[in-house]
């Protein structure tokens, strides 16, 4: 019966709407998606503006006021060095946000394109490269990250490259799987028969079709990467102190959890709202694009 109704709808006057506009339309209707998007926008705006709006200098150590409970002066209290936890929580996501956003873009670009190319080429190349990718995926990612960063140091650029590189493998798999659905489609055959170059086929024919899967996967990769970055930071491999960072803040202030829980809650709330926001958004995005969330899940 689907067929019938679809055909009927096809005959209705043309809607001059691009797929993008359609997606936005669907997204707008979803509560989760809008909440997610709001959280994300809030965090991005905060990261941009926080240095100028914080009530106190986040690095200022006010020795007499250590481990203070929340007050009107220190909304989240202070840590054991007497720094204002509210200000630190506000700015504590800046490095994480920049590193993971760039890292995600990098991962999706190189991983996505490699995946599409492999799916398109098929044959021996695909087989061998995928074996390497599978082998790399078998190593626990935290170990890989720790290894690379302990060698190369905690420079944010190095971190961006490292994250972008390691999270690219999952993007390869996702993009390749999505591409395999399309390579046998006749429009790809038509492009090959026309004599189009491989680059054109990958970029113009295949990429637009797997883009939705990649976008959803990218959103999820971002949230995984944030967790990854915070874990590293928790272990002391994130940012160089005294620059504040949520993960590191949580790690350091665990000791005073009993006396000053807000020193942990503050950064934890910030980190989790961002991650929840990203997840809500990617869920809604998947729905708006008509994808099954399971397709976009990292391995």
């Amino acid at each position: 019966m689907t067929v019938t109704t679809q055909a009927v709808e096809e005959l209705s006057p043309v809607k001059r709407r691009t797929p993008l506009a359609d997606t936005w339309e669907n997204l707008r209707r979803s509560w989760g998606g809008m909440i997610g998007l709001t959280l994300i926008v809030f965090h991005v705006l905060l990261a941009l503006s926080s240095p100028y709006i914080v009530p106190q200098d986040p690095q200022l150590m006010d020795a007499p006021a250590r481990n203070e409970a929340p007050s009107t002066e220190h909304l989240f209290g202070t840590d054991k060095l007497g720094r204002d936890m509210f200000s630190r929580s506000l700015v504590g996501g800046r490095v994480a946000l920049v590193v993971t956003m760039l890292g995600t873009a990098l991962a999706m670009t190189w991983g996505g394109l490699t995946g599409i190319l492999l799916g398109f080429l098929g044959g021996k190349t695909d087989e061998y490269v995928m074996r390497v990718v599978d082998a790399l995926l078998a190593i626990p990612w935290l170990l890989v990250l720790l290894l690379i960063i302990s060698i190369l140091g905690t420079n944010p650029w190095v971190q961006t490259l490292t994250f972008g590189f390691t999270y690219g493998y999952t993007a390869i798999r996702v993009a390749r799987a999505a591409t395999l659905d399309y390579v046998t489609h006749e429009f790809v055959l038509a492009a090959r028969a026309r004599g189009e170059r491989k680059r054109t086929i990958v970029l113009k024919e295949l990429l637009p079709n797997v883009l939705d899967v990649l976008l959803v996967d990218g959103a999820m990769t971002w949230s995984w990467m944030l967790l990854g970055f915070s874990s590293l930071s928790f272990l002391g491999f994130g940012v160089t102190p005294p620059t504040p960072d949520w993960g590191f803040m949580i790690a350091k202030n665990r000791e005073i959890l009993a006396i000053q829980p807000w020193a942990v809650f503050g950064p934890a709330i910030m980190l989790s709202t961002l991650i929840i926001g990203i997840n809500l958004f990617s869920d809604a995005l998947a729905k708006a694009l008509g994808l099954d969330r399971s397709q976009g899940a990292p391995v």
Partner: protein, 675 residues
Amino acid sequence: MSKNLIEVENLSIGYYNKGGKLVHVLKNVSLSIKPGETLGLVGESGCGKSTLGQAMMGYLRLGSQVMEGSILFSGKDMFGLSTRDLESIRGNKIALIPQNAGEALTPTMRVGKQIIETLELKTNVSGAATKNRMIELLGQVRLPHPEVMAERYPHELSGGQQQRVVVAMALAGQPDMLVLDEPTTGLDVTTQAHILELLRDIVAELGTAMMYISHDLGVIARVSDRVALMYAGEIVEDASAAEIFKSPAHPYARGLLASIPRLELAGIPNSMPGQPPIPGSLPGCSFTPRCPFATEICSSEPPELKMILQTPHLVRCHNWEKVVATDFSQELKDVYHIVEHKAQDVSAIELSDVEITYHQPNMIDRLRRTPEPPATVSDITLDIKRGETLALVGESGSGKSTIVRTISGLLPAKSGVIQFENCDLTVNVDKRTMDLCKKVQLIFQNPDASLNPRHTVAEIIDQPLKLYFPKMTRDERRARQIELLERVRLDGRYRLRYPGQMSGGEKQRVAIARAFAAEPDVVLCDEVTSALDVSVQAAVLDLLADLQQERNTTYIFIAHDLAVVRAIADRVAVLYQGRLCEVGTVDEIYSPPYHPYTETLMGAVLVPDPDTEPKLLASDTPELAPPAKGCAFQRRCPKFINDLCDEVTPPWQYPQDEDGHKIRCHIPINELLVV
């Protein structure tokens, strides 16, 4: 008069679209079927046939609702029943046979087991009796060796055999009525003809009523006692099969019948302009914009479905009297027109001894020297003239697409020569010059798959323009896009549409425009009209013929519909299992002497005339690979000669001269002349 088994009364089904507006799918549909009667339901795609079929089973598409009316099955209201009662009617009293048999079967379960499950669920047969009944059912649908077949998995059966299993499952509960939704669409002509004969026999034997849904008027003519014609969600004519095919009284029926290519008539039929509107969107008759008989009243007053003459013949038309007054058979003769074009006596593409195989021997095969299986396509020698249309015909798996893909460089040839203006076409497309790629273009069967869903029409047509004419500026390309769209008779404003916003016929036109954007010398058409409605098919054929005339293009045209081939081709090559059986001009192929395989194909063609019976010669058991030696057709040939056909490759025989008609068979020409 016996009582009706099912009665659809004034049924309207609709759904609310995103904007909250009511969209009708069916509008005031009334029809009835008596026990043992077969009603054929025809109409273009999207006119609501499947919706009606599903509604008869008590199914509604998610979001749709019954606006008014009812369906009474043996006096019970299908939409008033509880789910439980409905479930017990479905399969037991009324069963559905869908289009895609493969999908209806569970891939991981042996077919015998699946039938047994249905039996246990739907009937009170139990114990050892179920197995016997299962075997009996498989025998009833004429599967050879039912015991062996029962042990197979669906993928081990051919499409036709799968369809038979689905029929057997539907018959399990001994239903009073079958609803069949395009059950043979997508099957080979021979398989289709066999399945239809089977259904006819079963209905006659068991007294089952059928509602047979199809867009193929040949099929409808073969199975139906009565025919209901649907247009834009309404029944517009309802009459006995004989009447509707001989003297249709609705202009839409006439239009449809006049747009079918015919086996016995050369030339391309008239196409019907336009496409169906959304049901209920026009104030008067839905057919007005396309109707040659339309008068003033038609655009304001919706016509009633009324009984005409004395016979039970219902028509929904204000001007039916005028329609009936014009002689249909005379009208039919005038619509077929031949588009004149001259093939030159210069070769465009020459194939000699071409052999193509999918087999790739691995290391072990090479070490063990395993003998290679016979090639998928072998021994193809054809000379295609410039400006000519050569049709490749044969059943599914006969290697038609394989040959065309090799010519376009997507598949390598194993051996042989393919020559095009001194260029070698056996090489892969990567190794061809851009100029060569430009000259040979390919159009596919399914426009849904051959147009990138993410590109607008402008982007789609721009691709070959950018690729082959790099010097063109943006504005020149834009102008050219519009010109090309106009040539395929689409408005220039279509540039901004996405494939999802167009109908099947429009999409296929865009695909044609894309191919012609390259200004090709040779166009390879792989089943370009088989996914289209008859009304659109004629227009696409016409378009192809016109384009050919303008540029003297050479076509290689793959089709399984012999009537379509007759309409458009100059010469025909008949293929079986990748081997040529017969080559000749259209007139030579469509008259005796026939190759036994050509004769089989011709016999299976269903024509839109209820009085013509198909002649089923060979069995429809498909083969997976060509035989190792002898004639390719030996295993199915009704004229098989023992110890000769299975041993010796038959010679080419020439009824006239060596350049013309040729038939590859051991039987002498004068015997083949006797049909």
